[in-house]
Amino acid sequence: MTTETTKKFNIDTVENAAKTPDTELPWAELGLKQNEFDEIVKVLGRRPTGAELAMYSVMWSEHCSYKSSKNHLRQFGQKVTEEMKKDMLVGIGENAGVTNLGDGWAVTFKIESHNSPSFVEPYQGAATGIGGIVRDIISMGARPVAVMDPLRFGAIDHPDTARVMHGAVAGIGGYGNSLGLPNIGGEMVFDSVYQGNPLVNALAVGVMRHEDIRLANASGKGNKVVLFGARTGGDGIGGASVLASESFDDTKPSKRPAVQVGDPFAEKVLIECCLELFKGSLVEGIQDLGAAGISCATSELASNGDGGMQVELTSVLLRDPTLTPGEILMSESQERMMAVVTPENVEAFEAVMEKWAVEYSWLGEVTDTGRLIITWEGDVIVDVDPRTVAHDGPVYDRPFARPEWQDSVQADTFTGSVQDAARPAASAELAAAVTELVASPNMCSKSWITNQYDRYVGGNTSMAFPDDAGVVRVDEETGLGVALATDANGRYTYLDPYHGAQLALAEAYRNVATAGAIPMAVSDCLNFGSPEDPDVMWQLAEAIRGLSDACMVLGIPVTGGNVSLYNQTGTTPIHPSPVVAVLGKLDDVARRTPSGWREDGQAIYLLGTTDAEPGRFGMGQHARPPGRAATEGGP
């Protein structure tokens, strides 16, 4: 099949690229800017091949390179004390950070976005969001033990909301329930700012013994590189189709699905199979395949390692035999992993694959050349320094400025507003207001959603929605466990990005603390509009500054997360929505505190001071639009 397949391609080799410097390449269609393409030519000392262009274009995208946010995200690593670092076993930069739980246990967690796919195809978008974050957790060497999903959709009465919301909820359930991971909480917010751009974030948490921590690097000359799990298909390679010059075959499907399709059964088998690999210490390095697929996995493994890597691309098992080299490199097919295995462990590795009936193929090996070399039937089509692909992409200092309208939205407070004048006074009016408030879409019971998720599987769930935090036992003997909460408030962050982001952190922190846990680590999913809009860039910069300052004050580090930009419809961005997850530790989950009042006759205390909050967070026009209940929890 391989021979027959290769005949269809016009293979653009490195040798050919050097000889044909003036060939027109579709770099703009692949999302690269002129300066970025020029930089690639400079780095390589020649024009890139089609395959190299495919790799650089996906790895230098905002999604993979964090080029607009990198300069600001550094604060999470800088505003850290020694005390904050003491329990951090793996920090930002790996697939997910790892925190020490004591007794030889470690925990890893991370929150990510899958926003735009979930708008295009809500079921698969949300499903593969769960799948992707779970693979990040596995690739750290951990057993995933729970998931959470903070969701934000458009107005509940908008005709399109039902399509997006029911699809996303069904996708999270359909995929998550099939993995045997309890869903222990999340959020559900309806707000018209998310109408054309829902936020579908997913969090996964996993646990491991210290000695089982695995990192994504390819080291040790002669070690073998293997790709295993699902076959590679045409998922999510919309952009790659512009590399049409690669193909002589004009009968192949011209339209590719922009959204990946998930197979939760394949993922479940992959989880168990990876854990068996870890148990037998059969892999030296491991990396999941998500965004940018093989481009990302090969370049990151090689870049993090101490040498180089050589890979034969025709060895990749394909679901669609018509895929071109560029498409194979860019494919975002789900449920795939790449690992580095010593020659001595090859046989044992294959035995685990056979046991779980997981397909695999040996692609190549680790070298000492410092180069990532990818061949197609022996012809070199990629010859790059992997660092230039994976880590040394462009970084932008985007201009940002406090928006002109910021003062006016802040000045628009509750005091003196229409709502203030109509404030309920008599007890009957107050009762009606309370009823209206608790029955509003964002305040009412969410059990109609959470009852579609399995909260019991695993037998270690100690607390789940509707409690403020989810709690999972880690050690059956001692009762050691973790608590998790996610929070965000787009309206507060819109009014004041610096303090709004801090309030999200404070709320998640409190939710974990009131569960009885000691807060230990933070993961954040920063959902914002276009970084090319100075107003939005200011919101992002302020939110990161606020979060990192607050982390210093609270003494807990950010161990990972994700930035999702360009969340906007036309030129209208969503409210800045930093979703903050806090993880805490309980020495014994038996001592967790549920939020509900469960027994009669108990005293009720309110801690803290309640005031009218006349300032920034008053319930003015923007915190509470006319005719709509104040729908997000107070600070």
Partner: protein
């Protein structure tokens, strides 16, 4: 290995001396999800859990078998339809039908596998409301004489979690009448039928009473702090499901209730 720990080695549980010799197998198919939970329930009841692999061609030394919940082979075809052909299943079918009448409990996907295997009659189709549903479900124990319900009283109401997508039990009227007449409706949903099952049937047995299948999950209600009362604060107990496992143990060791 005899148990399925979360990570690393199995934890030591001080088994009750009288029961520790009893060995209960827990089957794992690709896509099985609740195998660790079932093994934990067996341990908490005082017995030894034995890991069984779908591809095994021998059943080995076990006194009873639990087929746990999950989505075997993804359940993309029909729930349980592929698992039924696993090499180990033919051994389980033979042992259940033999004179020794091996006790077999099928939970959720396990129940679906038992009907696909024809150890139990009828079948499960998609819930009538077409959604996955996870809730704490009240059941009435209609028959306390099966291998898995000896420790309950007939008519006793228990609360255990239910969680499935394809839980609607169906059979033709003749089969349903026969199940009723022979006392083989072992569990019935009380107060709320969560999936449209015929005659509110939650679980049934074979004629001999050694094979029992049900959609709800007794293995998720065996430990204080991790059952319906603790998770949802609905009152009642966290451990209503433990009786399944103590029942079969008492039967195995031939002790009094």
């Amino acid at each position: 290995m005899t148990e399925l720990p979360l990570i690393g080695e199995a934890i030591a549980v001080a088994a009750e001396p009288r029961l520790a010799g009893a060995r209960i197998g827990v089957v794992t198919f690709p896509g099985t999800l609740d195998d660790r939970d079932a093994a934990r329930a067996v341990r908490l009841a005082g017995a030894t859990a034995v890991e069984l692999w779908h591809g095994d061609t021998e059943l080995g030394d076990v006194d009873a078998v639990v087929i746990p919940g999950g989505f075997s082979y993804g359940d993309y075809l029909r729930a349980g339809a592929i698992a039924r052909f696993a090499p180990l299943m033919s051994k389980i079918i033979d042992a259940a039908n033999s004179n020794a009448k091996l006790p077999v409990l099928g939970i959720c996907n396990g129940f679906q596998i038992l009907t696909e295997s024809h150890l139990l009659p009828g079948s499960m189709i998609k819930n009538d409301h077409l959604k996955f549903l996870c809730r704490d479900q009240v059941l009435r124990v209609e028959n306390s004489n099966t291998a898995w319900t000896l420790d309950y009283e007939a008519g006793q109401e228990i609360t255990i979690p239910l969680k499935n997508q394809d839980g609607q039990y169906i059979a033709d009227e003749k089969t349903l009448d026969a199940l009723e007449a022979e006392g083989r409706v072992v569990f019935r949903y009380v107060g709320f039928n969560p999936n449209g099952s015929r005659r509110d049937i939650a679980g049934i047995s074979n004629v001999a009473g050694n094979v029992v299948g049900l959609m709800p999950h007794p293995e998720h209600a065996v430990e204080p702090g991790f059952g319906p009362e603790s998770l949802d604060g609905i009152g009642g107990s966290d451990t209503d499901g433990l009786g399944f496992f103590t029942s079969v143990l008492n039967k195995i060791v031939g002790g009094d209730k």
